[in-house]
């Protein structure tokens, strides 16, 4: 049974993405999904730009980080009756066309969560070489912490069932949330699958993306996460 598009909630966390947020939101709205923009206290004109778009606009009064923004979006979408929750990057690197196939994959394989992957066959993403080794290392770091080995360690594109979203509770406010989701999936014994998604690397998304320095910081946050429950 295909899900009604309105019950698919696409959660887009953003922080100062005014130059791209309109296109990203428009692309998702085109497919008829419910869109939840979680503005993490942007200081640009994100809010004004979204006027006129039929979206749920949530705004943190103080910047908390992407993990916190996602959790805010999860809480909201669950309250609004979401059946599926998609996490989607604001910077335009994901394709809204992949959403339907993520949901299909979830139903076909009857899993609780589907992770987008750049490295599965059929993904058609040209990952820049400098980033490749970082992601390869991160894969094993995640495996070490969670026991789950994904082909892509840090992909912002995911599909969660309502059940999964209700159970997962992100406490890592910043970037370590991507690994925290894996840790919780393992702990809560949720089932998962991967789906090859297209990633469109632009100069903008590369500039915004995370370099090696961020990788080290995430590692540090993960160790502390493990130390303090």
């Amino acid at each position: 049974m295909p899900a009604s598009p309105q019950t698919i909630f696409v959660i887009i966390p953003c922080f100062n993405e005014a130059s791209v947020i309109k296109d990203t939101v428009a692309g998702v709205l085109e497919k008829g999904y419910s869109v939840v923009v979680v503005d993490d206290a942007s200081t640009d004109e994100t809010k004004q730009l979204l006027h006129g778009f039929p979206v749920h606009y949530l705004r943190h009064r103080i910047n908390l980080g992407q993990g916190a923004a996602l959790q805010t979006g999860f809480d909201y979408a669950i309250r609004k009756g979401a059946a599926f929750l998609i996490t989607f990057d604001a910077d335009g690197q994901h394709f809204s066309g992949d959403i339907a196939r993520m949901v299909e994959t979830m139903e076909e394989k009857s899993v609780d969560i589907v992770f987008g992957s750049r490295f599965l066959e059929g993904s058609d993403s040209s990952v820049p070489p400098g980033r490749k080794w970082l992601l390869k290392t991160a894969r094993y770091v995640n495996y070490f912490f969670s026991g789950i080995l994904l082909s892509d360690a840090h992909n912002g594109f995911r599909c969660l069932s309502r059940k999964a979203a209700e159970k997962i509770r992100l406490r890592e406010n910043r970037m370590a949330h991507a690994s925290e989701i894996l840790i919780q999936v393992a702990k809560l014994k949720l089932t998962y699958a991967e789906y090859p998604v297209k990633i469109h690397y632009t100069a903008y998304s590369m500039g915004k993306g995370q370099g090696n320095r961020h990788g080290l910081r995430i590692l540090f946050e993960l160790i502390l996460y493990k130390l303090f429950r």
Partner: protein
């Protein structure tokens, strides 16, 4: 008494008085402060006693033993403080989340 002994004694006494003025709660607190400050002053004035304890546990000098213990204690404090910061951050996050500004735009 050497100059360093005067300085250290003065500091320990000052900290003890400060803590007493700040906390001034129960007799137990006062007792705790007195015991710790008293021990501090005692070891400053009779440093050889720490050396004897150090020899007993297998460290050459009393000052070294105090140094090792201080590092351990500070490390413990850092971890405790970090745990508290994380807890505060989680409470703060809930607060910001409760007060999230919500607007639903219609077509």
């Amino acid at each position: 008494m050497t100059i360093i002994q005067v300085i250290l004694t003065a500091f320990v006494v000052l900290i003890a008085v400060y803590m007493y003025l700040r906390l001034r709660t129960t007799l137990f607190d006062l007792l705790l402060i007195l015991v710790f400050a008293g021990a501090g002053v005692f070891f400053v004035i009779f440093p050889d006693t720490t050396t004897r304890i150090a020899h007993f546990v297998g460290v050459n000098r009393g000052a070294d033993m105090i140094f090792y213990l201080a590092i351990l204690f500070l490390l413990f404090l850092v971890l405790k403080l970090y745990a508290r910061i994380r807890r505060l951050e989680q409470q703060f996050t809930e607060l910001v989340r409760d007060r999230v500004e919500t607007e639903i735009y219609k077509k």
